[in-house]
């Protein structure tokens, strides 16, 4: 049973066709990697799935429900959460405050002018749990802008997790990171996938990360699907090697 179904989706910006007739089916519990050279339309595809803008044509369903034109906040409500290629957090606030906003939004408290003692305690507990999961406990009260990039990224992923998503979209989570940070994030993603059986779609450039994590890989080039398959199949695919791996190496 597929959780996310993308059917023949296209998106045009003026005369530029960023994504053209892309279809993809992500099963519940699957970890899907999306790869492709720069400008292949990976981030545009993410923006379409998360509702940043609607597709020019095509259709998307999530858990059997048509989400093609649903605004972002409604998609979050039914379980689609994302991170961004350039980390998007609340820079002036502390790590704990960042998480707290996410937790309260997820709990449906965003309009509440006050919280009961019990609700406030639940929020606190949830924030603490996320801090621990992301190994951020020691940095909870530091303004996030002061922290290294890896910690900011981890916080962003925890904020997405705070929304209790059923599908997590990660846009190049290891971009611009050193080896240790890359390793930490990779381990975190694998834990989320294996221990929590979370469905994840991941854009990534680092081939080590992809072949280590992905169940299936979708290869995009010039806005179209070039190939799709298991890591072994993709590694053996000549077109992919010619169009992408060859170029990257």
């Amino acid at each position: 049973m597929s959780l996310l179904q993308v059917d023949n989706v296209s998106r045009q910006f003026g005369s530029l066709v960023a994504v053209q007739g892309v279809s993809m089916s992500v099963a519940a519990g699957e970890l899907r990697a999306v790869i492709g050279p720069n400008g292949a339309g990976k981030t545009t595809l993410f923006n379409l799935i998360s509702g940043f803008f609607p597709p020019t044509s095509g259709r998307m369903t999530f858990d059997g429900r048509d989400v093609t034109r649903l605004p972002p906040h409604r998609r979050v409500a039914i379980g689609i959460a994302r991170t961004f290629q350039i980390t998007e957090v609340f820079p002036d606030l502390t790590v704990a405050e960042n998480l707290r906003i996410a937790v309260e939004a997820a709990a449906g408290y965003r309009l509440r002018p006050w919280l009961s003692q019990r609700a406030a305690r639940e929020v606190r507990d949830r924030v603490d749990a996320l801090l621990e999961l992301g190994s951020l406990g020691a940095k909870a009260d530091r303004p996030i802008a002061e922290l290294p990039h890896g910690d900011q990224r981890a916080t962003e992923i925890m904020m997405a997790l705070a929304l209790r998503p059923r599908l997590l979209l990660l846009d190049e989570p290891t971009a611009g990171m050193g080896d240790q940070e890359t390793y930490d994030i990779t381990r975190l993603v694998r834990r989320l996938h294996q221990d929590r059986e979370l469905s994840i779609v991941l854009i990534e450039h680092d081939m080590r990360v992809i072949f280590h994590l992905a169940d299936r890989i979708l290869v995009l080039a010039e806005g179209k699907v070039l190939a799709e398959g298991t890591p072994a199949e993709i590694a053996a695919d000549e077109r992919v090697q010619a169009a992408y791996l060859g170029k990257a190496a």
Binding site: P72, H73, F84, V89, P91, I101, R110, M159
Partner: protein, 317 residues
């Protein structure tokens, strides 16, 4: 430690305001100048709810301030001679207008939002200016005055007694400020902060940004129109100038001058600005130029505001 220091600051501010009529004379002022500071501080704090804590640039708040003023004045003059009802109608008029305008502009951002708020702000100025027979046009709405507040068992004379009116204003200020502070500490306030900090992230946490900006705009204008109503009562007069673009600019400069990232900043800014304006206008006819120069100096040299700078200095020392 930090919270404790904050509590001392709060205490000092409330003490100062509560005793103001007893020391302002010695400081060279007069009670109704104090009232004006409190009214303007209320307006600037309300604007800053939007400006500093939601990150939305409104340059048209004078419109709602003026609607509060005219609403109160016209009610007392034409409908019912009741101070309380005047305030109520003024606030209702300002808030209703804000709800409509806010719905039109909540989708806009940045400079564009600012420009549209300025333009909409002038609508009400033109109405007041043109609708001579009712609003008094350019001369303003006069021929009415605030009336004693009837409490059933007795009444408070706020007309003849400047001090009584000061405390009425302070009570309004205290309630409004307490409500805004509570809102900012609530999940709702944190959603607004999230929008200020990073709109895109907020949206993808499931916060419907437009709805929240609209709400913040309406809350802000609710309190601004309360300030406007109190201002008209203070002067026993509603001035079309209260609705004009330069009044909007004054509110913004008060917030910036005091420090728009701090809660008490607008109060500090309002106190400095009102006193300075009062002083300059006795000194020279060209005080408008001096205020203009003051705007430029603030922007160039104090962009973080007085409290913003103090906080920064403390953080670095």
């Amino acid at each position: 430690m930090k919270a404790l220091a904050g509590r001392y600051v709060d205490l000092a501010i409330w003490l100062g305001l509560a005793t103001l009529p007893y020391w302002i004379g010695a400081a060279g002022g007069y009670t109704s100048l104090g009232t004006r500071v409190v009214v303007m501080a209320l307006a600037a704090t309300a604007l800053n709810f939007l400006l500093g804590f939601t990150g939305v640039l409104s340059f048209g708040h004078a419109a709602y301030f003026g609607l509060g003023a005219y609403g109160a004045g016209m009610t007392i003059k034409y409908l019912v001679p009741s101070t309380g009802l005047g305030i109520l109608v003024g606030v209702a008029a300002g808030t209703a207008a804000a709800a409509i305008v806010g719905a039109l502009i909540a989708r806009l951002r940045g400079v564009y939002f600012a420009m549209v708020t300025i333009a909409f702000g002038q609508v009400f100025y033109f109405i007041a200016f043109r609708w001579n027979a009712v609003t008094g046009g350019d001369d303003g709405l006069s021929g009415w005055r605030r009336l004693p507040i009837d409490l059933g068992f007795g009444s408070i004379d706020i007309l003849g007694n400047d001090q009584a009116f000061y405390y009425l204003t302070l009570a309004g200020f205290a309630v409004a400020v307490a409500v805004m502070a509570a809102l900012l500490r609530s999940p709702f306030g944190r959603s607004l902060l999230a929008i200020r900090e990073n709109e895109r992230r907020a949206r993808f946490l499931g916060i419907p940004v437009e709805q929240h900006i609209w709400l913040s705009f309406v809350v802000s204008c609710f309190f601004v129109s309360l300030a406007g109503a109190l201002y008209a009562l203070l002067n026993n007069f509603a001035d079309p100038h209260d609705l004009r673009w330069d009044q909007s600019g004054d509110f913004v400069i008060m917030a910036v001058l005091g420090g728009m990232r701090t809660f008490w900043g607008p109060l500090v800014g309002a106190a400095i600005f009102v006193v300075l304006q009062d002083y300059l206008s006795t000194l020279t006819d060209n005080w408008m130029s001096l205020i203009g120069v003051f705007f430029i100096l603030v922007v160039m040299f104090f962009p973080r505001g007085v409290l913003g700078m103090l906080r920064r200095r403390k953080a670095t020392s």
